[in-house]
């Protein structure tokens, strides 16, 4: 916070002093190049782990799924269907059952 305060104050003064706000603002942007960290986290071992690792890591890292609360089998089925229908997850129909089963065992509602 403290490090942000100063530029804010400076900017406020500049803006409030200029009656013609069209006048060149002093603000300068700088090009940015960064590296975003990736995750190599896999789903914990168990029946169906290979299937979920092969089908559910393309668009988001495993944390998306592993941070989910316990859900009913019905809710997990709906979640997997949503991935396929709404987000175009390329999951072969014969793999859906194994993925739902895996999720229900790992994070199923009692």
């Amino acid at each position: 916070m403290r490090r942000n305060r100063l530029p804010v104050v400076v900017l406020l003064i500049v803006v409030s002093m200029s009656t013609d706000v069209c006048a060149a603002s002093p603000f300068e942007l700088k090009s940015v190049k960064i590296d975003l960290p990736d995750s190599d986290r896999m789903f914990p071992a168990g029946p169906g782990a290979d299937t979920i690792n092969n089908n559910c890591l393309a668009c988001h890292s495993a944390g998306m799924v592993l941070n989910q609360p316990s859900l009913s089998k019905q809710a997990w089925t709906a979640a997997v269907d949503k991935m396929i229908n709404n987000y175009k997850a390329p999951v072969a129909p014969e793999n859906v059952g194994a993925i739902v089963e895996y999720l229900t065992v790992l994070k199923g509602a009692k």
């Binding site: 530029p7 900017l11 942007l29 960064i34 975003l36 668009c59 988001h60 944390g63 609360p69 979640a79």
Partner: protein, 362 residues
Amino acid sequence: MTTAFPQKGAMILQRTRPPLLETPFEVFDKGVFTPNGQFYVRWHWALIPTEIDIDKFSLTVRGHVNQTLSLSLHDILRGLPSVQLSAVNQCSGNSRGFFQPRVPGGEWANGAMGNALWTGVRLKDVLDKAGVKPGAVQVRFKGLDEPVVADAPHFMKSLEIDHARDGEVMIAYAMNGEQLPLVNGFPLRLVVPGWYATYWVKMLNDIEVLDQPDTNYWTKVAYTIPDTPHASIKPGQTGVKMIPINKMVPRSFVTNISSGSKVSAAAPTTLRGIAFGGDCGVASVDFSIDRGQTWHQAQLGKDEGKYGFRQWQTQLTLPAPGAYGLLIRCTNSNGVAQPDTQNWNPAGFMRNVIESTDVIAL
């Protein structure tokens, strides 16, 4: 907690790719402006450019306009009047992790929100430059992020034309006096004061004026709420009319004491926190130590703008040793107060129940 993200400090890691990073709650005690380095981060699709050359970037304005524009950052920073506004940016699903029964999605605690002083240009000025044609109904916004799978829906959001031209919606190039961290949307981000963050499109590079209502997935299907009071329904309830999520609702939090803390009985305790009105300012913040039977007004801090966080503070004395729930309630300047029961909807949106900070007086 992670410090692995460039331009960011310590953040709660909800998901690495695409990043979902939550602001640690202690940050909100330091002041009403959330530092850029700890401002929460939320992306839908993982193809996010990691390099932005400010001389090559351009913002296109097209569709139902007289003249298609391709604006450079120079055109935007130097060619249009600059405006400033402090406003809360809050994820629709902030606090989803507290929903009961639990719902799938980003399992945020209360840190998927932040307040910044935004500097930029009015969307209205940009639209006027292109010249909106009669018959325009909505304006659609798209950023540089892309879906991983080719036929998946690109993230886009739309606003009604009158809202887009209200003079408040802006295109920000700075937050808290600095350029935006890349993961917060560098170089340009839409700022929609009083509305949930889903509309605040990051890395904004495409504005399309539409003469038909937008039917894209992210506007029409995702981010919809039940058209009921507090967007609330019973779990399992069906046949409810759904509408796009829109204006925010009032919220308030204690920031200097967390649940589970011990405080002294029969001695003054300072209680401090933040509140925001949602789509308007804060009228009052009240607290109760007797489960809501009696309420007392807290003192409000400096008003930095109606769409921003407002600090509040009070001194209270817990009369005797024991367990207390400290309740805080914000009433906004439209007269809307936080409800005392929590809402529920399947997407986990719009939580704003009166929060309780549970303490033990010794």
